[in-house]
């Protein structure tokens, strides 16, 4: 196989030494790993076509991979196969201010793209916590979310068109450059979030928005997370739609403060980071209004507004670092990603706390309060077998909890291998059968990221 691949795309783009295989044996998901047989780094769409056709003929699994920063084991080669590393296809092909779009190859990182379009006063909206490393290809494959979901939506709202290679090696173009385009099924939307199981993206057309000129942020401290959740409810019921409503419980707050040294009130039970972006006065008014609502909320301990952009950036950065900062507390942290209807949040966070107490587990919860997306994170000692078992039990209960409240098992991280066993419970049998049928049309040989989603 190695020789065949070398002759197809050049020896320099094929690696199979034990060092490379070992390095690509996992992604950012704990507890999942497996050795691939070979790593290939295609340089063009035609390279991808050659690899996929070869894999289809030989029935070899292909695991498309960007930065490997996903948290659902979507890119771990559990059954060998070819890791298709797309990081070399990292060119921005076009930034078009008039059409407010960019055309990129999949290996461009989220931050690189956003920094580039900033020069045109534009913004690429999706901002997952991993934005400095994660690739646009990976963002599309998982329909990555981020801190702006409530006001702006997630990756799925910003993908206009794709060039993708199907499991047969055929190249399809979906969508295009338009906001309005209903010619045919919305295959673009189907491919977004398909986690490498339906096609390999080789070119992505993304929608951009004008970069807001102003932003303002504040922090409110509460006695507990449920009080913060209730406050979020009041804010949104009052008719404002802010760009940022993030919260952390005390466990996260302490861990983040230890890393970032921002002078946060670590005695508080919860922190709510609120903010908005847009035009000067409007932003100031929205943020003032949120601060006023917070001041009157029950369980409130204090409200402060960030004095300048640097202070606000520091707060946002600290929030993005919640997970790694939490990880300092143990040797293994299992991050979950449920989402529930916003009004249910206060009840759900209380139930999560109860689950932690019941199993004697340390669970730190942070999340995107504005869109009901919660990241309960279980921090344990990986060598403590009993604790690992308890964590697994707690996870199942958390998933069941989400479904009980009409929520979902994953809001933005994806299903991958980590949540596949729970997928049918969430979507139902008929939907699962449909997903399997779809998979077989796009990838009849079942080579694209097999054993995931509809496989």
């Amino acid at each position: 196989m190695i020789k065949d691949l070398q002759s197809l795309i050049g020896a320099e783009n094929v690696r199979s030494d034990s060092v490379a295989l070992s390095a690509y044996s996992h992604d950012a998901t704990p507890l999942f790993n497996g050795l691939p047989e070979v790593i290939v780094t295609p340089q063009s769409t035609s390279d991808v076509v050659k690899i996929v056709k070869y894999a289809a003929q030989t029935k070899t699994p292909i695991i498309p991979r960007g930065a490997g920063s996903n948290l659902c084991a979507a890119t771990v080669p559990l059954k060998g196969g070819i890791v298709l590393s797309l990081t070399s296809m990292n060119k921005v092909l076009e930034v078009n201010k008039a059409e407010m779009l960019a055309v990129v190859q999949p290996g461009v990182t989220n931050l690189e793209l956003d920094q580039l379009v900033e020069k045109e006063n534009l913004r690429f909206v999706p901002d997952p916590g991993s934005r400095n490393v994660s690739t646009i290809g990976g963002n599309v494959a998982t329909s990555a979310g981020g801190l702006r979901g409530l006001k702006y939506g997630t990756t799925k709202n910003y993908i206009l068109g794709l060039e993708a290679v199907l499991g047969t090696g055929e190249v399809v173009r979906t969508g295009g450059r338009l906001v309005k385009d209903v010619a045919g099924y919305d295959v673009t939307r189907l491919l977004v979030g398909s986690e490498g199981t339906l096609a390999v993206f080789t070119e992505i057309t993304v929608a951009l928005v004008p970069r807001p000129t102003d932003s303002k942020y504040g922090v409110a401290y509460f006695d507990d997370l449920a009080a913060a959740a209730a406050c979020v409810d009041s804010i949104i019921s009052s008719g404002v739609l802010p760009s940022t409503l993030e919260f952390l419980d005390n466990t996260c707050l302490v861990a983040v403060e230890e890393f970032a040294n921002l002078g946060l009130d670590i005695k508080a039970g919860a922190l709510l980071l609120f903010g908005d972006d847009g035009e000067g006065d409007v932003v100031a008014q929205t943020v003032e209004k949120m601060a006023e609502i917070a001041k009157k909320a029950s369980g409130i301990r204090g409200v402060t507004l960030a004095q300048d952009v640097a202070a606000a950036e520091a707060l946002l950065y600290a929030r993005r670092c919640s997970l790694p900062a939490l990880a300092r507390l143990g040797t293994l942290s299992i991050l979950e990603d449920i989402a529930v209807p916003r009004p249910a949040m206060a009840a759900v966070v209380k139930r999560i706390e109860a689950i932690g107490e019941k199993h004697h587990l340390r669970i730190g919860t942070f999340g995107h309060a504005g869109d009901g997306n919660l990241h309960p994170t279980i921090v344990i000692n990986k060598d403590d077998a009993e604790e690992v078992v308890k964590a697994e039990k707690a996870l199942k209960e958390i998933f069941a909890l989400a479904i009980e409240f009409n929520g979902t098992i994953t809001g933005e991280h994806g299903v991958g291998s980590a949540k596949l066993p729970f997928l049918e419970k969430k979507v139902g049998k008929a939907n699962m059968d449909l997903q399997r049928s779809i998979k077989s049309v796009f990838d009849p040989a079942n080579i694209l990221n097999p054993n995931r989603l509809g496989s």
């Binding site: 070992s22 044996s25 670092c321 997970l323 990880a327 300092r328």
Partner: protein, 348 residues
Amino acid sequence: MSEKFSQDKLDRCISCGYCLPACPTYQLTGAEESSPRGRITLMRAVQSGTLEPENLLAESGFCLGCRACEPVCPAGVEYGVLLEEAREILWQGKNQPLIIRGLFLIVGNKLGMKLLGLLSPMAKERKSNPELHLMLGCFERRLYPDVSKAAAKLAPEVSVCKEQGCCGALHAHNGELEKGKEMARQLGEQLSGTIITTAGGCAAHLSSVIGRDRVKEFSEYWSTKDSSVSKVQINGRTIRVGLQDSCHLRNGMGVTQEPREILKQLGEYVEIPNAGGCCGAAGSYSLLQKRNSRKVVSQKVNDIKALNLDYVATVNPGCTRQLVTELRRAKVKTKVIHLAELVAMGTK
């Protein structure tokens, strides 16, 4: 020699990948194994026995050891220590590079250090404040004697003791971790009180062993002094000057603002793009990995050229040597000078 990595340090990494964009070698290859996260994966495989240690050899040499991954790591992984451990496990016997063997021989004993200082016009022996000592460095005293001379002249309160050994950073970074720590401890006993060093790399190693409170890098020390400097002039105009950070000073000790503030007083300060990125000197790296060292520095040479600077100030002798060599090769006229020497020019 230790056989294993510190498990608690390996456990810190959660494989989030936030380090990837900060890593110069990952930027060169785009290969996971040339990233801090990838290398830690390999270390774990070695630790658990699924990968033979020899497989780590190439990457342990390719890594610059610049520690740019550390300040961007929210999980607090001490990658620099892990790399030192990797080299301690691997760079033994036939795997110890010959150049390293030679360098160890010179700096590892009194005679070698004496020879390095012999006839070198470095700072003269003197007894001032017994609780303040200037460190003379090992190769710095031979290659750049003017640096210690400038520092001694600027800070007359500081004692200079010529009978001093090497801080052991060279050993610690190249496979002799324990010996490197022992050398630092000895130097700490030899020079009482606060040790002032003109080398960022030495400062970071020394402070990691004898304590952060006992070590002050020159710009840190100068910033605490109540001294004024005037603008340095060339042909009747103020100089344009940039800074090349010392990786370990920046990433290991968190010192970034002090040298910049001083340079702003000395001339028109221009931030070189990616000034905090490694210049490829990386201690012995420029000797052991010549081609890669040059690849790492190439963009920096272009950036410096484009800025049309009079001076690039450095805070570590390795960076001085690398930039002098590479700017000369590229026929860039910008002069490379240690910060202490430039301060001396501004206090005439």
